[in-house]
Structures are given as structure tokens and as C-alpha cells.
């Protein structure tokens, strides 16, 4: 479904990504873990070209999207993204946050967009909050609106960038529940997360990233219970406590 090939990225002198290759097949849930500064977020942003890789290629359903002929907007409307800090549009209601992409990118008329947006909000359990502004919602509710906003575009792949890291503990489960449901429905997902419970339960494979390189990749049981690399061992034992 989506494949990255030898991705390099420099921020000035800093070599953030040092040749990352990865493939996620249709319906697969792939988790990325790693210490902060390891390049997880940058890599995720490369996948929908929010950060353009300096070297290497990315393929979406076989199309080389890093080619200069491909419009990044065309790529991004097929890939949903959910951010650590929600990034809901603060001046718009929950409903209008969801309809914005539908009317402006997919050119739906506002009635159809409204209907679809309501349905998507219903799906994440926020059917009663359509007219609320982001500042009136809890963190968990905001993140669910953000998920609905991404889902409304009918994405082929969903990217999650530490979706629960900014949440109060009491709200984490409601977001993870939505994500688990999504995974069960067969959505292709790439998730940067530190929620080991979620990764163990839902992920098809886990990638451990350190210093811009893939250290180890495998099914969750293998990464969490019997990692082969020393660095993975050290990291996993630290986060599992």
C-alpha cells in the first residue's frame, strides 16, 4: 500500500533520517516506536510529504509520489493524518472542521459534506458535539474530532503521530478504542506511539527506530518479549518499566 525506500533527511547539518525503508501492506497496522529525537515523526511526515525527503522514494499503491510531477495535495488527500497536539482549526466548530476538507478539497456541496461529517462524528462517538468549538471539548474529544476529520476524506492510509501523548490519562482509552475499532475495520495504519498495550494488541508489526535508522522490525511479541538487538532491549525495558 505504502512503501518507503532509502529515505534520507537532513535538517541543516543534522542527519535526521539515515536511509529508512519500510513497507505497509493493505489492512496492516504498523507501529513505530523509538526514543525522542529518533526521527519517528519526521519519517511519518515524509510519508504524506509534509516533510519532503532529501533522498529516497515513497510509493503509494505503486505510484512514486516523490516524483516532481505528483502534486503533494493529491497525495495528502488520500492519506489521513492525526497529530499529537490535535491541531483542530480553532475558529471552526467540530462539524466545520470535518467539512472543510470535504468542501474545499473534494468539492462536495455543503449539504452532502454536512451529512458525511455528521456520520463521521457519530462514528467516533461525538454525534452530540457537532456544534461545539474545539476549545469547548476535552483533549480526548478533540482528538476524536481530528480522527473524524481525517476519516471523512476516505483515506487509503491513516498516519497517527503519537495521538495519545498529549492526553490526560483518563482520555487515552477513548482515543485508543476508536483506533482499535478502525484497525478492526481493516484500515491501513501507521502509528507512532508509546502505548505498548495498544501496539501489542492491535499492531501487525512493530518497528524500532533509533538515530534515524531502523534498528529492528518484527511482530509485537518478538519486539517486546524477545528483542534481538541490544538497543531495542534497553529501550523496551525502559518503557515497559
Amino acid at each position: 500500500m505504502i512503501r518507503a525506500d532509502g529515505i534520507h533527511k537532513w535538517f541543516g547539518e543534522l542527519h535526521v533520517l539515515r536511509g529508512i525503508g519500510m513497507e505497509v501492506t493493505k489492512g496492516e497496522v504498523s507501529c513505530i516506536i523509538g526514543p525522542s529525537g529518533s526521527g519517528k515523526s519526521t519519517f511519518l511526515r515524509c510519508l504524506n510529504l509534509l516533510v519532503f525527503p532529501d533522498q529516497g522514494d515513497i510509493y503509494l499503491e505503486g505510484v512514486r509520489i516523490t516524483s516532481p510531477e505528483v502534486r503533494p495535495e493529491w497525495v495528502r488527500q488520500q492519506i489521513g493524518m492525526v497529530f499529537q497536539s490535535f491541531n483542530l482549526f480553532t475558529h471552526l466548530t467540530a462539524l466545520r472542521n470535518v467539512t472543510l476538507g470535504l468542501t474545499k478539497v473534494r468539492r462536495m456541496d455543503s449539504e452532502a459534506a454536512g451529512k458525511k461529517a455528521r456520520w463521521e462524528l457519530e462514528r467516533v462517538g461525538l454525534g452530540d458535539k457537532v456544534d461545539a468549538y474545539p476549545a469547548q471539548l476535552s483533549g480526548g474529544q478533540q482528538q476524536r474530532v481530528a480522527i473524524a476529520r481525517a476519516l471523512a476524506m476516505d483515506p487509503k492510509v491513516m498516519l497517527f503521530d503519537e495521538p495519545t501523548s498529549a492526553l490526560d490519562p483518563e482520555f487515552i482509552h477513548e482515543v485508543l478504542d476508536v483506533m482499535t475499532k478502525l484497525a478492526d475495520e481493516g484500515m491501513t495504519m501507521v502509528v507512532v506511539t508509546h502505548e505498548m498495550g495498544f501496539a501489542k494488541k492491535v499492531a501487525d508489526d512493530v518497528t524500532f527506530l533509533d538515530q534515524g535508522q531502523i534498528v529492528e522490525r518484527g511482530p509485537p511479541s518478538e519486539i517486546f518479549e524477545g528483542p534481538k538487538q541490544e538497543r531495542t532491549k534497553a529501550f523496551v525495558s525502559r518503557i515497559l518499566g
Binding site: Q77, G101, D131
Partner: protein, 301 residues
């Protein structure tokens, strides 16, 4: 209740549209008697004192023989001409200044180096020129050009138009910086989220950045609008027919009749400027209230 923001008051309020919330929480005109708060007492005492001082001043003016109602009426037609002239100038300067400000603020925050350079040069040039110099210079330049190129002998109207345009650009340079500050206050995450949905740059600018930047810029914009309204009086220097120019003419004629008359003239003109400024500020304040986002209120002490 203070004039403060509408707070979310439990489940019932969140789901309703904004207009209804405002209606529901508005203070009734007549209600049960409440003891005034300390802040209200201070405010009321201050306004009562101000009213007394104003009354004494007006009374003293009357004692000094300043009330000449027939003269006040006599100059009304002239003032009407002046007022409509000022309205035309304001109606040109504010929209043109705002449009330029919007364009240049976008240019200054764009990632094209050329656009940034153009915006920067524009701001630094027009912000550094005294508006009076701009007006004098541009009207002279327009006259010179029109004379030598189009052989128009005395293009007064066109010279005024050029000077008005220069004044609009001057105001635009301030508005550029006001709007740029607003744009810079929008977090980068908003742009990222818009891009991630597949919105183009211009869609992101118009649908995500500017509405939020505009909301934050409004108080400062109101300031600039009210300031430029009064700057149009500088155009009287090149004989633009507007309030200050009419005032000068009237004063010149009246001085030989009675030294008290200019007081009447300038009083009436001040009132007219006040009315115009207040109207514009009122519109800005209305826009401010409209763009308030429930739940997203500023700090309150």
C-alpha cells in the same frame, strides 16, 4: 454579570449555536436590584465626575459668548460638503490600505524570498515617510507627470487622487505589520493540519490562517483605522475638499467677523470626526464580537 465572555455552563450550552448562547446569557435590561460591585462603583463615580466637568466646561463656553446658533447653522452646507469629502477619502483609504496590508502581510510571511523582499521594502519605505511628505511629494509628482505626459495644465483632482493613494499605502504599511503579527500568532500545527487534509496553499491561507489572524488583529486594526481617518485631514494641504480644508476656509472668512466663531467651526468639525471615527470603531467592535470563539477566551483579571 460583567461584560465578560460567555462561559460554558454545562451540557446544555455546548451543543447550541453561538447566536443562541449569546441570547441566553445576555443580561436582561431590567432585573432584580443588585448591589454594585466595587468596580462598578468606581466606574459610575468616574463617569459622573466626567459629566459634571463636561457640563461646567460647556456652561463656561456659553458664558464666554460662544453660542451663536445662527452661525452654527449658517456653515452647515459647507460642512456637509466637507463631511462628504472626508467620507469619500476614508472610503477609499481604508479599503485600499486594508487590501494592500492583506497582500503585503501574506507576501512578508510567504516562503518565497522575492515576495518577502517586496513586502519588506514596501513596509520599510512607507512606514519611514511622514504622511505629510508622502502627500506633498506624490501630488507634485502626479502633477508633473500629467503635465509633461498628458499636457493637462492643472490636474488638481488627479493630484489629490495620487496623494490619497499614497496615504492609503502609508496606512497599508502599518496594516501589513498588524496583520503579519496576527498571521505569526497562528500556530504552525494549523497549517500542517490543513496541508495534511490536502488543502492548497491559498486555501490554507484564506480558510485557516487569515480567519484566525484577522480575529487577533482586529483591535489593532481598529486603532489604525481610527488613526487614518484623521490623517485624511492632511490632504487639506493640497486643497482636497474635506472637513479640515473647509474648516480652514470657514475660519479665514469668520475671523474678520468675530473671534469667537472659529470655536464654533472647529467644535462642529470635531463632532463630525468623532461621529465618523466612532462609526468605524463600532463596526470593528461588531466584527470582534462576531469572531469571538466560544471556549477560547483571553485571560481575565
Amino acid at each position: 454579570m460583567k461584560g465578560g465572555p460567555i462561559r460554558d455552563e454545562g451540557e446544555g450550552v455546548i451543543g447550541k449555536p453561538r447566536r443562541e448562547i449569546q441570547k441566553a446569557t445576555r443580561r436582561p435590561l431590567l432585573g432584580p436590584f443588585r448591589y454594585p460591585s466595587r468596580r462598578q462603583i468606581v466606574r459610575r463615580t468616574a463617569s459622573a465626575a466626567a459629566a459634571v466637568v463636561a457640563f461646567l466646561f460647556v456652561f463656561w463656553l456659553g458664558e464666554a459668548g460662544l453660542y451663536n446658533l445662527s452661525f452654527a447653522e449658517e456653515i452647515v452646507p459647507a460642512l456637509e460638503r466637507g463631511f462628504s469629502g472626508t467620507m469619500w477619502l476614508v472610503g477609499f483609504v481604508i479599503p485600499v490600505g486594508f487590501g494592500t496590508g492583506l497582500m503585503m502581510a501574506s507576501a512578508r510571511t510567504s516562503d518565497s524570498r522575492i515576495a518577502r523582499a517586496i513586502g519588506g521594502t514596501y513596509v520599510e519605505f512607507f512606514r519611514s515617510m511622514p504622511p505629510f511628505t508622502l502627500i506633498a511629494f506624490s501630488s507634485l509628482l502626479a502633477t508633473k507627470l500629467l503635465r509633461t505626459v498628458f499636457y493637462i495644465d492643472n490636474p488638481v483632482g488627479l493630484a489629490v487622487a495620487a496623494a490619497t493613494f499614497a496615504l492609503a499605502l502609508h496606512s497599508g504599511s502599518y496594516q501589513t505589520e498588524i496583520l503579519r503579527a496576527g498571521i505569526l500568532s497562528v500556530p504552525a500545527g494549523q497549517v500542517e493540519a490543513a496541508y495534511a487534509l490536502g488543502l492548497t496553499r491559498s486555501r490554507t491561507l484564506f480558510n485557516v490562517i487569515l480567519p484566525q489572524a484577522f480575529r487577533i488583529s482586529l483591535p489593532a486594526l481598529g486603532n489604525e483605522f481610527s488613526s487614518v481617518i484623521k490623517d485624511t485631514s492632511l490632504l487639506s494641504a493640497i486643497s482636497a475638499v474635506e472637513l479640515a480644508f473647509i474648516g480652514g476656509v470657514l475660519v479665514n472668512n469668520a475671523l474678520s467677523r468675530d473671534f469667537n466663531l472659529p470655536f464654533i467651526i472647529w467644535s462642529e468639525i470635531s463632532v463630525l470626526y468623532f461621529v465618523l471615527t466612532y462609526a468605524v470603531v463600532w463596526i470593528v467592535r461588531y466584527a470582534e464580537n462576531r469572531s469571538k470563539v466560544p471556549g477560547l477566551e483571553a485571560a481575565q483579571l
